[in-house]
Assembly symmetry: C2
Homo-oligomer: 104 residues x 2
């Protein structure tokens, strides 16, 4: 499993994408992440581990609490790969292009 495999696979699960959405609004503990889900804490713990293995989430321990933070590095490869085939999904990248123009 290379980095790209891990990143795409991590993003393929809706629960994990929701976890990312939550972490985008700030770091959180495993319990905080689990709260909105109708699923065991253990299940979420596993999902976090998948995101961590993909490098999308970093963990720092504070006593008994594990604080998770979103980390963008693996996305470089994802976006690089996507941009390689830009002309095949070019219309789709326009929105992102506009967005980037406005922020650069």
């Amino acid at each position: 499993m290379n980095a790209l495999d891990n990143a795409f696979a991590a993003l393929a699960d809706p629960t994990r994408r929701k976890i990312i959405a939550k972490l985008a609004r700030g770091s959180a503990r495993v319990t905080d992440l689990a709260a909105p889900f109708d699923m065991s804490l253990n299940a979420i713990s596993k999902h976090v581990k998948v995101l961590e293995r993909a490098g999308l989430v970093h963990r720092r321990r504070h006593g008994r609490e594990h604080v998770l933070t979103l980390h963008g590095a693996p996305m470089r490869d994802v976006v690089t790969w996507l941009s390689r085939y830009e002309r095949f999904w070019n219309i789709k990248l326009d929105a992102l292009g506009e967005f980037l123009k406005s922020t650069n």
Copy 2:
């Protein structure tokens, strides 16, 4: 399974990404796609089906030959989702931003 799940999952396999790479250089038959791989035709046929289910590949039959073509539509959702969290992997999107600026 929603569209985003299917798209990300389809992209998570290196064989399928290679198939996409090949199709980016032109439409091809199943046999053509299978040629470079040390893998049965059936395995490739399955991979193609996964890409098809994700909408990334379209198939048109010409007699006994099935011609596959790359199709970008599902990427709209992928890129939209990615761009929503742009500030977390912002550095990474720069390259794509530059690329888009030069082509728009």
